[in-house]
């Protein structure tokens, strides 16, 4: 771990939080960002409403925004790593402007590029991504204090009048599974999950 200043937020585990989120889902869409974020989503139990990214680092929130705009009645969750979000901070302003109330974003923040060798991100120990989200115009942005608080914030986001961003501090553990790397099938299954297509 890098030199992160003391915060009153517990250091949690990505898979444990993802497991808790998925356990409470029905027909909600979930977009899993590149790397460990979607590996843990895969490991928490595959469902056709999940979309797994195999590249395009930083685009979990924009992809989720597209889903949220296309299906305003469906709740859309997006799971993204801190390093990924740093690549696309501008998307927070776009999301704040469009303000889809059916979008819940989760930032898994361990301050490192875990999958490439745990190098610290340029933000580690200095930037506060939840504060960045607030400053970008996403008023419903907060750090989860612990696992129960995470579940409370997830539930609260479903009633919110605008988009929600939840920051969670996580440990430096790798993902617990590995997504099957079949982009065409991932996309097709997701479209079935979204009710856009029927299987052949």
């Amino acid at each position: 771990m890098t030199n992160i200043p003391a915060r009153n937020t517990k250091v949690m585990n990505r898979f444990e939080l993802t497991r808790r989120l998925v356990a409470g889902l029905k027909d909600e869409a979930v977009i899993g960002g590149i790397g460990n974020t979607n590996f843990d989503l895969w490991a928490a139990g595959h469902r056709p409403e999940n979309f797994y990214m195999l590249g395009s680092m930083g685009l979990a929130f924009p992809i989720a925004l597209g889903v949220a705009l296309a299906q305003p009645k469906r709740r859309v969750f997006a799971l993204e790593g801190d390093g990924s979000l740093l690549m696309q901070l501008g998307c927070l302003s776009t999301i704040a402007t469009l303000a889809p109330k059916n979008l819940t974003m989760v930032v898994m923040d361990n301050g490192i590029y875990q999958i490439t060798g745990s190098q610290p991100t340029p933000a580690a120990g200095h930037a506060d991504l939840v504060a960045v989200a607030v400053a970008s115009g996403i008023a419903n942005s907060s750090w989860a204090a612990d696992e129960d608080d995470f579940e409370r914030l997830i539930a609260q986001s479903k009633q919110a009048a605008g988009p929600t961003l939840i920051g969670v501090r996580i440990d430096d553990k790798p993902g617990t599974g590995t997504t099957r790397r079949d982009p065409a099938q991932i996309r097709e299954r997701f479209m079935h999950g979204m009710g856009v297509r029927q299987p052949l």
Binding site: F51, G55, L59, L69, A184
Partner: protein, 183 residues
Amino acid sequence: MAAAEQASSQKTATTWHGIVLQTLKRNEIKLVPYVPDRVLTTLIKDLHADPYFTTFPTAREEEAVGIISGAWMAGMRGAVLMQTSGFATLANVLASLAVPYQIPLIMFVSERGTLGEFNYGQALVCRTMRPVLDSLAMEHHTITRLDELEFIADRSIKQAVTTQAPVALILSPLLTGGKTFDK
């Protein structure tokens, strides 16, 4: 028909931006995120004025590609507007999202860097565009003539959707007038 309406529909039929707007509408493309370009000004203004479209700026072109990809998978069609230099930022997202996931990403690229370019950087970055498109075997057309615009745009959009493959429609200065030296 009121005189104002008649004038408006005449404008739609005879300008490149009017034809693009009508072609998008006919193909049920509602979502149009963009990173602006001087040449695209009128098209962007008219898209904002038409309640059929959900159109908005994004901070980067790849962000717009992500939004369009998500919307497509959830049943809403979209297209992205950008400039040549913006296209140059897209190689990674094309190679890791649009092409392998088979997303019918429709891109309108206002072409700078040729036919009277005054900024050397624009001229250089323009030369990277077609090699990137060709290296990924992506469909692309450079539209130079008003009388060919509707055919190329309409057919290309339909082909992108039915073959689940991205397409780049490059709007040449021969079509749009481009950006001139004194601006």
